[in-house]
């Protein structure tokens, strides 16, 4: 962790990186494309001593690892923990966060060998990695301290020993939920003596996953209380806007924030690159994948270790192929560039990580699988093919280059989505804005009900007992009606043969899904699709894409939850057309603004997939369509919506169809900005447009008739709904309501500054979809309401 002297090779590189950046800037063809270069000067480390209370033996252990002193944030965090406070440490990648928990945990095991610790990591790979590090420390100490990973890969016959003897159990929330808590009677030693719970990568627990985690922690704490322990929590997070708030919501307890980074930071260049426009009218830019390739080669050709991040598995594979074609010309240089993504086998991953640390691998193309804290040593350059979707994860990626010393560079290559275009054209937003908020809604009823089932399975509930902040009696009343629980004396008991944790996946709201079965050669399950997306991605005649291969969907068996597919090679893909109706059930808040009204509340959605389009690759031409008859889907959820009053709409000097196109374009851009500010996944929120006045007029008409006529109808008073795409909502609507002004302002900026003429995928959507006037009308609406 201490400063290293630069080796001659490193010194040479530190010279060459500024030179390459200069080269890029000066190259004629690229001049237009580099929108911004930010230079970060190096920063010295701030050191502090080990806190007094840390056992000398523990200190010596770290001395042996070459750590004489702590960075200031490490010392501060350890002091808070020793003072009995929950703590959340928020510092950049590679600032030595693991020390913040390994020191106090080892310290208390040294003092009392009965002490137990539980480490939670969001992925198995990370757990494995951290286990290794801890294990090496323990080896060095020569003490009989047992550390184990406990997850789905742990052999059955090893589990018993781990349960009884493991001082530190390293696992993931899913395993805690399904494999540990429901079997807590086998873990008595752990629960009776649990002193520390470590939650690393806290920022990953947002949205649905975070909402689940809060409930898993509620269950954990219930059991600890039962066994008479009260563990402290040590959380670590990448930089997000509200770490303390997120930690508070996850733990439902006070948390101390430690965010003054004491680690040194290396000198760094951060370059923003926007591929050149090749068709001004349609707003088409040169392929960002090809641009990423040529920029990365600037660095790779000079022997600089480079990591390239891609946002999908497919792009990862494409880039690996490109680099291999160019760089690996001889046997000696074979395996110089590797891919790294989910789906690779653990052993292969370990080998790549090692190769990177030892410098044997020059370049790696990765998905977000390498964003988290897997140790791959220091790289010199980070290139991002497309914006990751969040400020926080972009910084995580950038942190992969130049972890400690020397000069490093990061390049962001934008694609043509509105999000990327907004960020690339507004670097001041990116650098000025605090990163996104981590939002969760642990009391989403679907999620809550599922975890209450698990909790009462684990331990009966006393009447009047709370679950977190939630009063439970009424909910158990409901579950009793369903036959899941039964009240005896003053306790609720689980009365079902089922094992409820099996039915709950922490990564989604409902665990119902479809399997996709490849029938090409032999029947083989190739993937699963969750219930809501099944109807739009694996309907009959759809082209389903998996691992870069196209499959034609022959049959969707609704009852068996199965889609039968066959490999094909077509030059098109399909996009489902669905018709959505929105009904407002209850408005929680409604606020009139200058010329519009913003609202949030609960809505009822009826969605039906009515057909699909065939779209040609590369040209994106519409080459055909088909009708579909699929059952309607209903959902209750929460939503934000913007009402554009009738008077405002009538003021627009355009024909009705153009007005509608403008509203559509506006909605398209607003959704993009909402994703940006909510730090959620694109699929977490959905869009719907409904007319306030039409309902009254159209009341007697059947749904089918309305679906057909809605295209022709004149919109008088549209509502733009941006809703949580999960049953009961996951808590995104109210924040969106609160940040309405910012969303509208930035939406206007996005559309204004877009260089296209009449709309493009980067602002109001492709011209063909919303009409020629879409961009102009959208801007006029914005001018009126701003």
């Amino acid at each position: 962790m201490l400063e290293h002297r630069l080796t001659p090779a490193q010194a040479a590189q530190s010279l060459s990186i500024p030179r390459i950046v200069d080269e890029l800037k000066q190259e004629q063809a690229l001049q237009q494309c580099i929108t911004y270069v930010k230079h970060f000067p190096p920063k010295e480390a701030t050191f502090d001593d080990f806190p007094e209370a840390i056992d000398v033996a523990v200190r010596q252990l770290f001395y042996k690892r070459g750590i004489q002193k702590l960075y200031s944030h490490q010392a501060e965090s350890i002091r808070q923990t020793l003072a009995g406070k929950n703590v959340v440490v928020v510092t950049p990648t590679a600032s030595g966060k693991t020390l913040c928990y390994n020191v106090p945990v080892l310290n208390s095991i040294f003092a009392d060998p009965d002490t137990r610790g539980l480490y939670l990591f969001p992925t198995k790979a990370l757990a494995q990695d951290q286990m290794e590090e801890l294990y090496q420390l323990v080896q060095l100490s020569g003490k009989d301290i047992k550390t184990f990973t406990y997850d789905g890969d742990t052999p059955q016959d090893a589990r018993k020993a781990i349960r009884a003897q493991g001082h530190v159990v390293v696992t993931n929330p899913d395993m805690l939920h399904v494999g540990i808590l429901p079997h807590h009677t086998k873990w008595v030693q752990l629960f009776e003596n649990l002193k520390y719970v470590v939650i690393d990568e806290l920022h990953t627990y947002r949205g649905v996953f975070g909402s689940h985690l809060t409930n898993v922690l509620r269950r954990l704490k219930r059991l600890c209380t039962f066994y008479g322990s009260k563990p402290l929590f040590i959380c670590c997070s990448a930089t997000i806007a509200n770490p303390k708030d997120l930690a508070f919501r996850l733990l439902e307890d006070t948390v101390e924030l430690v965010d003054q980074n004491g680690a040194p930071q290396a000198e760094k260049y951060f370059v923003f690159y926007n591929p050149p426009v090749v068709n001004q009218q349609l707003g088409i830019r040169r392929s960002y994948v090809n641009e990423t390739r040529s920029i990365a080669l600037h660095f790779l050709n000079r022997g600089l270790q480079t990591i390239v991040f891609a946002n999908s598995r497919l792009v990862t594979e494409i880039l690996v192929t490109y680099f291999k074609d160019t760089l690996e010309k001889s046997v000696v240089s074979k395996d110089l560039v590797r891919g790294y993504r989910g789906g690779y086998l653990p052993l292969e991953r370990r080998e790549i990580e090692k190769g990177l640390r030892e410098g044997k691998i020059l370049g790696v193309v990765a998905t977000n699988a390498l964003e988290l804290g897997v140790d791959i040593g220091t790289l010199e350059v980070c290139i991002m093919a497309g914006y990751s979707g969040s400020i926080a994860s972009t910084w995580q990626r950038v942190g992969r280059a130049g972890r400690r010393t020397g000069v490093s560079a990061a390049v962001l290559v934008a694609n043509s989505s509105p999000l990327d275009q907004f960020v690339i054209r507004h670097p001041e937003y990116f650098f000025g804005q605090s990163p996104e908020h981590g939002l969760i809604n642990p009391n989403n009823l679907e999620i809550l009900l599922n975890h209450l089932k698990c909790a009462v399975f684990e331990l009966p509930f006393r009447s009047g007992e709370r679950f977190g902040a939630v009063e439970t009696d009424e909910i158990f009343g409901f579950l009793e009606e369903q036959g899941f629980v039964h009240r005896a004396g003053d306790q609720w008991h689980w009365t079902s043969e089922a094992y409820p944790a099996d039915a709950v996946s922490l990564r989604s709201v409902s665990s119902d899904n479809f399997v996709v079965v490849d029938m090409t050669v032999a029947t083989k399950i190739i993937s699963t699709v969750d219930f809501p997306s099944a109807l739009t991605t694996v309907h009959e005649k759809a082209i389903y894409m998996h691992e870069g291969t196209q499959y034609f969907v022959e049959q969707l068996d609704y009852k068996e939850r199965r889609a039968r597919v066959r490999k094909v090679n077509t030059d098109y893909f399909t996009e489902a057309i669905s018709h959505t109706e929105v009904q407002v059930l209850e408005t929680f808040e409604s606020q009139p603004l200058k010329r519009s009204v913003k609202n949030h509340g609960e809505i009822h959605l009826t969605t039906q997939v009515v057909g699909f389009k065939k779209i040609k690759f590369y040209t994106m031409e519409n080459v055909g369509a088909g009708d579909l008859e699929l059952p309607e889907q209903e959902m209750h959820t929460t939503s934000y919506w913007l009402t554009l009053p009738k008077t405002l709409m009538e003021e627009l000097p355009y024909p009705p169809a153009a007005r509608l196109g403008g509203v559509r374009g506006l909605a398209h851009a607003m959704r993009q900005m909402a994703v940006l500010f909510l730090m959620c996944d694109f699929k977490d929120i959905q869009l719907a447009i409904e007319d306030n006045l039409r309902r009254e007029e159209a009341e007697p008409a059947s749904r089918v008739h309305r679906a057909a006529s809605s295209q022709r109808q004149i919109i008088f008073e549209p509502n733009i709904f941006i809703y949580d795409n999960y049953p009961s909502g996951i808590g995104l609507s109210q924040p969106l309501f609160d940040m309405h002004d910012q969303v509208i302002r930035e939406t206007a900026r996005l559309i204004q500054s877009c260089p296209c003429e009449d709309g493009c995928p980067s602002c109001v959507g492709p011209k063909g979809e919303s009409g020629d006037l879409s961009k102009r009308v959208a801007l006029e609406i914005l001018t009126l309401i701003l």
């Binding site: 429901p182 079997h183 807590h184 009677t185 086998k186 008595v188 009391n443 009823l445 679907e446 809550l448 009900l449 599922n450 089932k453 399975f457 684990e458 331990l459 009966p460 902040a469 939630v470 009063e471 009424e474 909910i475 409901f478 009606e481 369903q482 036959g483 899941f484 039964h486 005896a488 004396g489 306790q491 008991h493 689980w494 009365t495 079902s496 043969e497 089922a498 094992y499 409820p500 944790a501 099996d502 039915a503 709950v504 709201v509 409902s510 665990s511 119902d512 219930f531 609704y558 009852k559 059930l585 209850e586 929680f588 609960e602 059952p631 309607e632 209903e634 209750h636 049953p727 009961s728």
Partner: protein, 482 residues
């Protein structure tokens, strides 16, 4: 908005949602009722039982209740659909209720309510003078000797205890999937007493009697030295241990000897019966025919129904089921003892069982008896499906026992008896004649035989090693003939 209020409202929405889903499901006839809930991610736990018998009743009640509650708040069109649906549902529910009501008659379960420091529970006991094995008190002593010898044989652990200190345990539970949400609502213990075979049952009439049940059980288990179960190692005992932890009680069975009869039973009867569940063994081995027995998979639902309604009719069948399991377990223990200890007359045993016993005894290091049983199988004339296997394994035992001449006879017999080529026997014979008997010419005969057959069958890929062996043998023959 206050959280509680909001949750209350959400619950209402949730109810409505279930309605909509049920309705859609019914109309589209896409899913049946029990599955309709699962697509919503919450109702799926009702399990596969919902469509059978009285188990569906509580759920159907829910439907009715939900419907009437929700009606007032639903849009008009949905309310109309619901009304239509309700009539249908109501008819079905009423029929089911009648069915159940017909079964029920008001009477209690018998037994006595016992009070412990932590509350009451129900204790039942029943004596059986006569067992299917003609239990007689004076035979008790030999039972004791048998069981102790059996334990010594199977667990390699000498044991000496009173007959009454041997307990047969079986539990009835609310689930089979493991985890802390499965309760043992009924624990039965069988033991031989001077007056006959006693089955005691510890039963919680509702979930709040579990503490008392465990407290009494702790005391009773403390009096036992040996526990005998069927699959208790993996199921009953861990589940009970977990219940003790949940009540923060110490586990009373740390110093007892435990014999799980499942594995010996499998070894003895798998060949003949395949299904080695206690129920099937009882039928096939003990010849017991149960009347009106309740299928095991219905038991949890019956208990839930009882706990909610207090109506005992179906539960009596569960108590009876448990008693019968325990009696059968005791008898099966005696049967296993008799076979493995050589007390049974061989004539009583099916040939497959005899062979099963032979293999098991070999595994337990009882070679003498193992050989004896296996030979007996041959004398009787093993069924064709078994014969080659018996010969092969017996030959293997003989070879291990260095009885080579017998092994050679058996291998030869194998080749003659089998309809297909016995490569292994052939090879064993070739090895025997080459290395032990040094009769190379004989060895070559078997090798040639194998090569001929393999060539005939077109298995040329397996030929190499045989050709190699023949070359070596011919070399040896050539050398010795000079």
């Amino acid at each position: 908005m206050a959280l509680t209020e909001r949750l209350h409202r959400q619950l209402e929405t949730h109810r409505k949602n279930r309605e909509l889903l049920m309705q859609a499901a019914n109309e589209l006839s896409l899913v049946d009722q029990s599955q309709a809930g699962s697509s919503f991610g919450s109702g799926s736990q009702a399990g596969p039982l919902t469509e059978t018998g009285p188990q569906g009743v509580p759920e159907r009640f829910d439907l009715l209740r939900d419907r009437s509650e929700a009606q007032g708040r639903l849009p008009r069109s949905i309310a109309l659909d619901l009304a239509r649906l309700r009539t249908r549902q109501q008819l079905r529910s009423e029929n089911s209720i009648k069915e159940v009501a017909g079964e029920e008659s008001e009477s209690d379960l018998g037994g006595e309510i016992r009070t412990t420091a932590v509350g009451p529970f129900l204790y039942l006991s029943e004596f059986y003078q006569q067992s299917h094995l003609e239990y007689a008190p004076e035979a008790g002593v030999s039972f004791q000797r048998w069981v102790c010898s059996l334990i010594k044989l199977l667990l390699g652990k000498p044991i000496d205890c009173e007959l009454s200190q041997i307990g047969f345990i079986d539990t009835e539970t609310t689930g089979l999937s493991g985890g802390t949400g499965a309760y043992a609502f009924l624990v039965g213990i069988g033991s031989w007493q001077p007056a006959g075979f006693l089955v005691e049952q510890f039963f919680m009439r509702d979930f709040d009697e579990e503490g008392a049940l465990l407290s009494a059980l702790e005391e009773r288990l403390g009096q036992l030295q040996v526990l005998i179960t069927f699959n208790g190692k993996c199921f009953d005992l861990p589940l009970l241990a977990s219940r003790f932890v949940l009540h923060r009680r110490s586990w009373p069975l740390n110093h007892n000897t435990h014999l799980d009869l499942l594995h010996p039973a499998r070894r003895l009867w798998k060949l003949r019966l395949r299904d080695c569940s206690l129920g099937n063994l009882e039928k096939q081995v003990l010849g017991v025919e149960r009347e009106n027995d309740i299928p095991g998979h219905l038991i949890p639902q019956v208990y839930f129904h009882y706990a909610r309604s207090g109506k005992p009719a179906a539960l009596r069948a569960v108590l009876q089921h448990n008693r019968q399991d325990i009696r059968s377990l005791a008898e099966l223990t005696l049967v296993v003892s008799r076979i493995l200890l050589g007390l049974a007359s061989e004539d009583d045993l099916a040939t497959e069982d005899l062979f099963g016993a032979a293999r098991y005894l070999e595994l337990l290091g009882q070679r003498q008896r193992s050989l004896q049983f296996a030979e007996e199988v041959l004398v009787r004339g093993a069924p064709p499906s078994l014969k080659v296997q018996v010969l092969g394994e017996l030959a293997e035992i003989c070879r291990s026992a260095r009885n080579y001449s017998r092994a050679v006879t058996l291998w030869r017999e194998m080749i003659n008896a089998a309809p297909t080529f016995q490569a292994e026997a052939c090879e064993n014979l070739a090895i025997h004649y080459e290395h032990r008997a040094k009769d190379f010419t004989r060895a070559v005969e078997f090798v040639d035989y194998a090569i001929r057959l393999l060539e005939g069958q077109g298995h040329t890929e397996k030929l190499d090693r045989w050709l190699h062996r023949r070359a070596r043998l011919q070399h040896k023959i050539a050398r010795t003939s000079y």
